[in-house]
């Protein structure tokens, strides 16, 4: 009798936990992990006459990994994503610092509200608008010519892609940095001032180290988003040169070659995982002291 009741309370607790935990697990297993695993499996399939055929061949891997166009696309995608993340992080920091430390709560609230707005607008449309801005007859070049400078070519160059990546990542990076900076203990900052640490030195020696985790995460997110974006390199970079995401789409176009596209996808996922791991290790690693 006693042990039965004992068991039933335990069973109740377990059933509760299972019922609470199951929906997320099942949904993400079925609709997220399974498709990705399927993608892994498909890297070993072959394609004949536009038809996918279950197979076990390493041909797709060797073909893609040895292809010169894959290597250059990989190098390009990786470096431009790093550049994007670096520029975004550096350009955003003064703005985030201003909003977090120097403005009134009301102004802070308003500016953060503004920064949420881009999330409610369509990215392709925003990218398309950038096309108009940077076209030879667009606003930027008209202004440059107006003040007697020579026009600049941005569209269909890596710089164009960069403009798109920044359009995509800037609002997010600023918001994440504000969150990181708002988490910095204000007493620490006051203590630094009290010890005659100048404002600039306080930023370097107190604020940035204290907010490091958040700052690194904002950098990592910018990298992740740029690395996977398809729209910016396509519409502003003119896929000149193409990124890995464009390469994926091209492989699909090329005779329905999903297996090769899957190989490209795998290399992207590995890269992102490695980068995230490294960055998070860097972010949390030294704080363990």
């Amino acid at each position: 009798m006693m042990s039965q009741k004992h068991a039933s309370y335990r069973a109740d607790k377990r059933r509760f936990a299972v019922l609470i935990g199951a929906p997320s697990l099942i949904w993400q297993l079925v609709f997220f992990l399974l498709p990705l695993l399927f993608l892994v499996m498909m890297t070993f399939w072959s394609v004949r006459n536009f038809r996918l055929q279950p197979d076990f061949t390493l041909a797709n891997w060797t073909m893609i990994l040895n292809a010169g166009f894959f290597r250059s696309a990989y190098l390009y995608t990786f470096s431009i994503s790093m550049i994007t993340a670096a520029i975004a992080a550096v350009a955003a920091f003064p703005v985030a610092y201003l909003i977090s430390f120097r403005l009134s709560p009301a102004a802070q609230r308003m500016l953060m509200g503004l920064l949420v707005i881009p999330f409610f607008t369509s990215l392709p449309v925003r990218i398309y608008s950038m096309q108009i801005f940077f076209s030879p007859s667009g606003l930027i070049n008209s202004a440059l010519i107006g003040v007697g400078l020579s026009p600049i070519t941005v569209l269909n160059t890596p710089v164009g892609a960069l403009v798109g990546y920044l359009t995509l990542t800037m609002p997010l990076v600023i918001l994440l940095q504000i969150f990181a900076l708002n988490g910095v203990d204000r007493q620490l900052v006051e203590a630094a001032h009290n010890l005659r640490c100048g404002k600039f030195r306080t930023v370097i020696s107190i604020i940035i180290p204290s907010a490091r985790v958040g700052l690194v995460i904002s950098f990592a997110m910018a990298f992740v988003f740029a690395f996977g974006d398809y729209i910016s390199p396509q519409f502003l970079g003119g896929s000149n040169p193409p990124t890995l995401s464009i390469l994926m789409a091209d492989q699909v176009k090329s005779g329905n070659h999903w297996p090769r596209a899957s190989v490209v996808a795998m290399t992207m996922i590995f890269t992102l995982m490695a980068m995230m791991g490294l960055l998070l290790k860097f972010a949390y690693g030294r704080s363990g002291r």
Partner: protein
């Protein structure tokens, strides 16, 4: 006639192989006000949580009215708890907080409101029924927490450090109120506290715990008069504790040697002692008298007054003896008036052999 309502029987609890409570046995009578006391980390709160079912005992039984409830879910027990943090539901009005337990017992809305209002009235916070918890002061929240716990009319009320979050002046009045409430309701209170003054002022019996084990159980006066062991004596903090070695012992008393000379006690020494045994001698501070000169009686220790600590109406004279041991004597301000003392005075401290007792090292 006393009836046992709650029995803790060999209760143990460990977290990750770390023992938090070990072999605790307490039996609580119906209508008693019991205080669990001890330094932080002594296991008193874990014991309380086990009674409420929030932690499951690793070993032992909890019996309420003789029935083992140790494996019952917390929501199946009738052991409401008044939380140190009050744990009021922040998004519910005061009234809905108080109604919560009643709702879980299936009481219909109308009756709940009537009942909740009764309790709010009784706790003197009827005016705040519509307020949210964050709009109340600490004392008011405490009353809401009490009303919420009592609204289901339990036979056993658990209190976890009920006064610790209050301002000092509120503490005293709330203390009185808890005692009044206990008397009026006639139900059993089990209260965890780390403060002796609270425990001694409110409880019928006090359980002193250390490192997960019970050190002593007894009525406040009894514990105060005679601690069971050195830990209790030290924890209560109101005694001089001297290291001694037994010289001889017989039915009438014990003589012992110490750094400040030979000291004697009159029977009964708490337990039989052996000649040559190293023990601690405990003398309550308020039993130590101060004279200007030796009078030839036993237990007289000459020394110098090193410091006078004034604590409200009482004054503690700290006497530095020649043996290098300090003795504390608690005097009333009246004593001082009749016998003015100053720092640096040469004095003789002494005590009645009947008021001292031995405990193990």
């Amino acid at each position: 006639m006393s009836v046992t309502i709650l029995e803790l029987d060999g209760l143990s609890k460990s977290f990750d192989k770390q023992s938090a409570v070990s072999d605790v046995s307490i039996s609580v009578q119906k209508g008693e006000f019991i205080a669990l006391m001890g330094p932080s980390g002594c296991g008193k709160t874990t014991t309380l949580r086990m009674i409420a079912g929030l932690d499951a005992p690793t070993e032992g039984q909890i019996r309420i009215w003789g029935r083992d409830v140790s494996q019952d879910a917390p929501w199946r027990r009738d052991t409401p708890l008044v939380w140190q943090s009050y744990a009021l539901f922040p998004f519910m009005s005061v009234r809905r907080n108080v109604e919560f337990g009643l709702k879980q017992r299936g009481m219909i809305a109308k009756d709940r409101t009537v009942k909740a209002d009764e309790w709010l009235e009784r706790m003197g916070i009827a005016a705040f029924a519509e307020r949210m918890p964050h709009q109340l002061s600490g004392g008011q929240r405490q009353r809401v927490a009490l009303a919420r716990a009592l609204a289901t009319e339990p036979e056993l009320l658990l209190l976890d450090e009920p006064l610790s979050a209050l301002d000092p002046h509120l503490k005293v009045s709330m203390q009185t109120e808890l005692v009044r409430l206990h008397r009026e309701l006639g139900i059993t209170f089990v209260c965890v506290t780390h403060s002796h003054s609270e425990a001694f002022a409110m409880a019928d019996r006090v359980v002193i715990m250390d490192k997960g084990t019970v050190q002593q159980i007894g009525a406040p006066q009894q514990i105060h008069r005679r601690a069971d062991n050195r830990f209790v004596a030290e924890f209560l903090g109101a005694s001089n504790i001297l290291d001694v070695k037994v010289l001889y012992a017989d039915a009438s008393g014990v003589a012992a040697d110490s750094a400040i000379g030979r000291l004697s006690t009159q029977a009964p020494a708490l337990k039989p002692v052996q000649v040559g045994e190293a023990l601690s001698l405990v003398v309550a501070m308020d039993r130590v008298e101060i004279a200007r000169s030796l009078s030839g009686a036993v237990n007289q220790v000459p020394g110098r007054i090193a410091m006078m600590e004034v604590m409200g109406a009482s004054i503690t004279a700290i006497v530095e003896t020649e043996g290098g041991v300090t003795l504390r004597s608690q005097l009333s301000s009246r004593d001082i008036e009749s016998n003015p003392l100053a720092v640096g005075d040469t004095v003789v401290a002494s005590w009645d052999p009947a008021s001292a007792y031995f405990v193990a090292h």
